[in-house]
Symmetry: C2
Subunit: 154 residues, 2 copies
């Protein structure tokens, strides 16, 4: 049998699960009960501005219906709102509300704290290699993979 613990996969799973859990419970300890999935959406919106559902589904690698439900919840909690795209009336554009923007100040330091804690005793070079490797692995898997929209080669 192969030595699973010597392979990044095992740790990707383990650490991924752990991070999600830690983030969620750290957020819940504040007055903002943000889930890890909501956090992922917020990150995109903070960095890239308003996005369509399809775009969000793509970057989060989730089904469009999952995104719909997720955004439903975030609208209910008034973190984001939906507007119509003026150029394409099928499309609705998800944008941050004032409250959604303000969450950044509260949440980012928490995430940074966790990152700092996790990175203790690890050299910047190793962190960089790890980041690159994980990114490459992600791309390898996503390559030639079905997406949510079919305009892959666009």
């Amino acid at each position: 049998m192969f030595d699973y613990e010597k392979i990044p996969f095992h740790w990707v799973n383990r650490l991924g699960f752990l991070v999600r859990k830690e983030l969620t419970s750290a957020f819940r300890a504040t007055e903002y009960a943000i889930s890890a999935e909501e956090w992922a959406i917020l990150l995109v919106l903070w960095r890239k501005g308003p996005q369509s559902h399809s775009a969000l589904a793509d970057v989060t690698i989730k089904d469009r219906t999952t995104v719909t439900r997720l955004i439903d919840g975030m609208v209910r909690k008034e973190m984001v709102n939906r507007a119509e795209d003026s150029t394409d009336r099928r499309r609705s554009v998800v944008a941050l509300t004032e409250y959604g923007h303000s969450l950044q100040g509260a949440l980012v330091p928490i995430a940074q704290g966790l990152i700092t804690r996790a990175s203790a005793g690890i050299s910047p070079e190793d962190l960089a290699v790890t980041q690159r490797t994980l990114q490459k692995m992600t791309e390898n898997i996503l390559e030639a993979q079905p997406r949510n929209t079919k305009d892959i080669g666009k």
Copy 2:
């Protein structure tokens, strides 16, 4: 705002999600519909033999009740069974059935295929650094962390 994409966390989440999804769908394409969580439990049992619920909760970083439900399902599907621990009658020991053992031959090659696919174009050194780094990060977070049992300092 910090550059999240330059940090391993982002990719741990993304890749972790992707791997779980890929594994699940690859398994579902066979005659064995094994979930990623069941896979994680099976891995432990294959490698380390019979385990108590608490031990499984510890390595999978899940709540004991979650493990109970997970094992319930696996017992129903006859992958594992529960036996009493002769030395401690509170404890029940989860062990593989014949069927559970046999899954190894079917499932491991699938996982290895995914690993090979993901690792394309990455040097063994980088893979090793990544594995070490992720392991260290996991340990950093788990350190001084509440566990399922309270015998932490044991």
